[in-house]
């Protein structure tokens, strides 16, 4: 079971909840399950997010396994200059 925290505009899209427990073994699975659990989140998740797993930021490598008990944050997409 993963404990997931939301940041940015995602925080207000899940009925006020900002933290969730989700069973998932990869980032992709986590995002799919979150979108199904909280449909209001899905459009934001589909538009792109950044996922931080134990401090490492993932922008696209979503098949990355998430270790049990990992610190997981879902954040807005990163843009660079």
């Amino acid at each position: 079971m993963l404990h997931v925290k939301l940041g940015g505009p995602l925080m207000s899209q899940a009925g006020g909840a900002t933290e969730f427990d989700v069973e998932a073994s990869t980032i992709r699975e986590l995002l799919v399950k979150l979108g199904a659990l909280y449909p209001a989140l899905k459009p934001l998740l589909d538009r792109g997010v950044t996922v931080a797993v134990n401090g490492t930021v993932y922008r696209g490598a979503f098949l990355t396994p998430i270790p049990e008990g990992a610190e997981v944050y879902i954040l807005p997409p990163l843009v660079g200059g």
Binding site: G7, G8, P9, Q13, N54, G55, V57, A61, V79, G80
Partner: protein
Amino acid sequence: MPLDSKTEMPLRHFDLVGTRPLRPDGIDKVTGRARFGADISAAGMLHGQILRSPHAHARILRIDTSKALALDGVKAVITSADLPDRTNGNGDLFAVLTNVMARGKALYDGHAVAAVAATSTSIARKALALIKVEYEVLAHVTDVEAAMSPDAPVLHDDLYTEGVEPKPTKASNIAKRHQFGHGDTAKGFKAADFVIERTFRTAATHQGYIEPHACLANVRPDGAAELWACTQGHFMVRNTCAELLGLDTSRLRVTASEIGGGFGGKTTVFIEPVALALSRKAGRPVKLVLDRSEVFRATGPTASTCIRVKIGAKKNGKITAAEAELKYQGGAFPGSLVELGAMSAFACYALENVDIVGWDVVANRPKLAAYRAPSAPMAAFAVESVIQELAEKTGIDPIEFRLMNAIEEGGKSSFGPTFGRIGLKQTLEAARNHPHYNAPLAKNQGRGVACGFWFNFGGNTSVSLTVNIDGTIGVATGMPDIGGSRASMCMMAAEEFGIPYDRVNTIIADTSSLGFCDMTDGSRVTFSAGIATINAVRDAIGKLCARAAAIWDIPKDAVEWEKGHCEPAGANAGKFKPLSLREIAAEAANTGGPIAGHFEINADGAGVSFGTHIADVEIDPETGGARVIRYTVCQDAGKAVHPSYVEGQFQGGATQGIGWALNEEYVYGADGRLKNAGFLDYRVPVASDLPMIDTVIVEVANPGHPYGVRGVGETPIVPPLGTIANAISAASGVRMTEIPMSPPRLLKAMSERKA
């Protein structure tokens, strides 16, 4: 890949990485041979020009192109009708399409409304004057706080604020609310001995690249197309243009020219879809080159901002709570990137109680484009100004105060995640130990210090390399070389092969020659293309070892690679004279054919970057002018592959930040028109304005890269605004809360203080 982990990186010896060989593109650039965007031509080429709205906000009632089309030499005229909406509900892509050519409404002064292709530039300009556009002028708003007002003119009647509860029922100019933080700030402020709260404002600035946008499009009768463009990402250009114009991606080949600066401003498309649409309509190649005024009026400036910061601290210097509210307008479309300002604002500090709210606002200005660490410099200016004041209140040296509160490995960031291996404290210590920090100051001079943070990222990257018949190596990457990546890739490939630097040549391949690559942005290229290059070399080495094994008739795993040679792996493998790369390459045709290596990755774990800057500023009390007399950048580079390029990034970022702090600003009139769309009135620093900027490369290796590399290109623009503000405050006794701190503004503040 376990990036940013706490794993210690083993110290390794490098032969080439960390040295300063000559840049491979240097001679072409100083002799004028390098071909930039406007240097590309084609037989039968037409010249494109764009008609732009003179109004900040206007409904387009009618466009009559008949007279323009009738002009001799005009071969095509397009409007938004020639760029039908193929975005399938993708709001971000629709915004790009609408920015490229206005649809229904002109949303800012300079918004494109039509374009012409003609046999000469002068005919194309004459044709623009013959296009009649009937406008219904609407009320406009260019200021961020005015745009947030309930009675502001609304730009988009379908824009409802995201991220607020209850969901709004009325359209407004506020696109999104972002929030980050943790702890209890009210409790934290109660525990503070000092609380400082201030509101800051920063003007919009432009990236100020020397080379204006330019491209040449050639759509052939069979629908296949070629495009040469000055861009930070030709694969992005290909994909975006293919979608907007309904082309098959495989039939649009985009080649990146050399690039005269981008800094984030060339990470989207402005003119490329227009040139393609004109070429398609005219049936001939079309070249489009913007002039400087168009660059300012219609390509990406930064956000202008209003930022409130409140920080509390104990007498002993410990910060107890921090709050910020950031309002960023990013032009006429959602996407001010305020969230990045919000996430980076307090990233340098370990905070138990922190609350940050960001508002993404639209206004009648050109659509924002990224600029080096987008959104972070403004937030750092506000936060570092208040941090400095708290250091003064507590009587603690500003660097010591920052060290006491600095985030370090294992610390929870203000935006949530726990940091891995980071080097902020090392940059602060480097600044404290630098002779600059304790050098004497004269009358009217002051010293400032500030820190800055940027995320950095990796992304999609493809590298292909060939082992040539003479044993030289050709490396192909797909990210335009802006900051010296060709040299860095040559160095990393040579290092990994164990061969001299000059045996490797790196090119930037076009979109039909290589797998997809993300753009040159996010300080990502040396990191992610480095990973791909090193692994492509390892792929080739595996094949070279297999050829040696075949030549020696021994098993593949009985061969090992050692500094440019295949050798038997131990005595049991047999006794053979080592085979050099050159020898194996010469035999390639007879031992199985060409030898190549490649690697494709979506690289993550780029490793964040921190910097600390010191500035000495001298104030002229008569004029309010502030002159930077000494400047030092200390930044964590992870591992500097080519230190001269790293130092160049530090100096370039600092220079742009100094310009932002002191002079640069978009000035709008009451009519909503940009008043200073040229380098005479939009003043960027030139060499004679600045001292030589000193640099200290701090190396806290990034565990996510085989050589420890972190991106370095963006972080150096983050601290200068705060650094200069703190130096001006020390020199003048005035705390400036508005950027730029231009002479009239500083003079006024000093006069008010005297009064």
